[in-house]
């Protein structure tokens, strides 16, 4: 397993948002995380990405115990989270965004000048690798479509050598063709041996790209299913709690 969480508990005052959650992602695996609103998905990914510190439980990344005090800590361990708001600087170019905080430098007399040439070349390679098409690597990210910005955000994660990429509702609010593109990105990441956690409300998307599905309900991870061996009906039943009703009835 690339990434493993055991017995994670997170409380906000009297509310237990995460109740002894176990969660793991294999190498080169796309793990979908589904659940109703308020099931604890957001809290769980914030714990993975370093935005929240868990009250109890342990997190392992590539076999090493880790403790994140900030999102930067998680980035440095190789976990990149692509948030809904994407955290891109809208009024900066694709190149500048991809290399933000990781600029390639070409020191002259000890002054760390930017090596734009090298950054542009690497940006071209990254976008090609992901098959992202942007109008120009010199255009503002703000002027691009949702799918293109997803692509840029993923390219940035790859550039930071992320091994686990967490995507929070990447297909929400995208046009149909763009959704296709983002799902392609996820498949590309898998073929390159990257692990992906996909949070989505769209069961169809989840079944198209995921290898396994974790279902959350009431702050607990209640089931993990292999995508090939389950059905959308079963997953929806787990999300809504219909199986509990059936179990109680029988």
């Amino acid at each position: 397993m690339v990434f493993k969480m055991i017995g994670i508990v997170k409380r906000f005052g009297g509310l237990t948002a995460l109740d002894h959650v176990d969660f793991e992602v294999g190498s080169g695996e796309v793990m979908a995380l589904v659940g109703d609103n308020g099931a604890g998905k957001s809290t769980l990914i914030k714990t993975m990405s370093g935005a929240h510190a868990p009250d109890e439980g342990t997190i392992e990344m590539e076999g090493k115990l880790v403790r994140f005090r900030s999102p930067q800590d998680a980035w440095e361990s190789g976990i990149a989270t692509i948030f809904q708001e994407l955290a891109l600087a809208g009024k900066m170019t694709v190149v500048d965004n991809i290399f933000l905080g990781r600029e390639i430098r070409k020191p002259v007399l000890g002054i760390p000048f930017l090596d734009r040439q090298a950054m542009r070349k690497r940006t071209g390679e990254l976008l090609q690798q992901l098959d992202v098409h942007v109008p120009s690597i010199d255009s503002w990210v703000e002027s691009m479509s949702g799918g293109q910005r997803q692509g840029v955000a993923i390219a940035r994660a790859l550039n930071m050598d992320a091994r686990l990429i967490i995507m929070d509702e990447p297909t929400a609010a995208l046009a149909v063709a763009e959704v296709r593109k983002v799902l392609e990105f996820i498949k590309t990441l898998r073929t390159q041996g990257k692990s992906v956690v996909l949070i989505s409300h769209n069961i169809q998307d989840v079944f198209e790209v995921s290898d396994r599905i974790s279902v959350m309900r009431h702050g607990r991870c209640i089931a993990v299913r292999e995508t090939a061996k389950t059905t959308p009906q079963e997953i929806i039943g787990l999300i809504t709690g219909a199986h509990e009703v059936r179990a109680a009835a029988s």
């Binding site: 999102p71 930067q72 980035w75 440095e76 955290a87 891109l88 600087a89 809208g90 009024k91 900066m92 170019t93 500048d96 290399f99 933000l100 905080g101 990781r102 600029e103 430098r105 002054i111 760390p112 000048f113 930017l114 734009r116 542009r120 071209g124 976008l127 090609q128 942007v134 109008p135 120009s136 690597i137 010199d138 503002w140 703000e142 940035r156």
Partner: protein, 326 residues
């Protein structure tokens, strides 16, 4: 793949659209034409060079202000920094210190006061407009307490050649402005530091997320503005040979006006040094031309103020239908 043509923003001195710079150049040509027709004195070498010398301190301070505003900050206390630095310089000269001691002393005083502003806004988390408003009061109080309404006068003009001198047919003050803007341009466009400034101005949380040391970058930028304010104080003393109580009273607002007129977004994330320089040129030419035409200088402030409102309204209208513009 996208064309690797020479549209590289790295090489641009101007903003990505360049529309504001072009509009300002058109406006400058327009007012120059009007003033040339209205006054025979306007288009003379003597008058233009005098105008530039009068704009020396403003243009220097505005370069630093551009960096601060691109970063999403603001500094209304910069006039106070100029005043306090000028007092340090004046007192040091009076104490008989030589120019090669006074100069670094003046620059250091400005840098320290700028860094103080940066410290208050980042570490004490006071919004920059409030923090620098506070320090503006403190700095002007210091000035009153030290010189108490009197002038420090009869100062040596050792540095006067920087303001009044000529290098062949090139006025030395033009050279000073060019050097300051060249340094600011390298910082803004050629170093990672500049990219970080734009990123902080675009979105501070995302800048933090990618590991940029936001607090350090901010303090450095306020300190750089302070350094330029210290330089402005040195040149002011060289030009006037005295320190008086009104020093720096208008420079903060003029620098902010020039920066905003020049296309830098008050919300941060966008801006160019060329725009700012053109903004300074425009403001100073307006002032000079109106004086030559015998119009009260109060009208100049009315015109600059109205232009600012027009520019900001136009920006707001353009962004109204763009949900991504905050």
């Amino acid at each position: 793949m996208a064309s690797v043509a020479d549209t590289r923003p790295a090489l641009r001195f101007v903003s990505p659209t360049a529309s504001r710079e072009l509009a300002l150049i058109a406006a400058i040509i327009l007012v120059c034409t009007v003033f040339t027709v209205a006054s025979p004195y306007f288009l003379s070498v003597n008058n233009l060079v005098q105008t530039m010398r009068a704009g020396l301190e403003l243009s220097i301070v505005s370069a630093g202000m551009t960096l601060v505003i691109i970063m999403g900050g603001i500094d209304v206390s910069v006039g106070g920094i100029v005043a306090v630095s000028a007092i340090v310089i004046g007192k040091a000269y009076q104490a008989g210190l030589p120019v090669y001691v006074v100069t670094p002393l003046g620059l250091m005083a400005g840098t320290a006061l700028g860094a103080f502003n940066g410290f208050v806004t980042t570490k004490l988390k006071v919004p920059p407009i409030i923090a620098t408003l506070g320090s503006m009061y403190i700095f002007s109080a210091i000035m009153f307490l030290v010189i108490g309404g009197a002038w420090i006068s009869g100062l040596p003009g050792t540095l006067s050649p920087l303001v009044n001198g000529w290098l062949g047919f090139l006025p030395a003050s033009a050279l000073v402005i060019a050097v300051v803007y060249a340094i600011a341009w390298v910082l803004l466009r050629k170093l990672p530091y500049g990219n970080h400034l734009y990123a902080i101005g675009c979105s501070e949380p995302s800048a933090r997320l990618v590991g940029i040391n936001v607090d350090r970058t901010k303090i450095l930028t306020y300190a750089f503005l302070g350094l330029l304010a210290g330089l402005a104080a040195l040149l002011y003393v060289a030009r006037m040979r005295n320190v008086e109580i009104n020093i720096g009273t208008t420079i903060a607002l003029e620098a902010i006006a020039a920066t905003i007129l020049g296309g830098t977004s008050i919300r941060g994330g966008v801006g160019s040094l060329l725009g700012t320089l053109l903004g300074v040129v425009f403001i100073r030419i307006m002032q000079n031309g109106l004086v030559l035409m015998g119009i009260s200088s109060l009208w100049e402030t009315v015109i600059i103020g109205s232009l600012l409102i027009c520019v900001l309204t136009a920006d707001a209208l353009r962004n109204r239908n763009n949900p991504r513009a905050q």
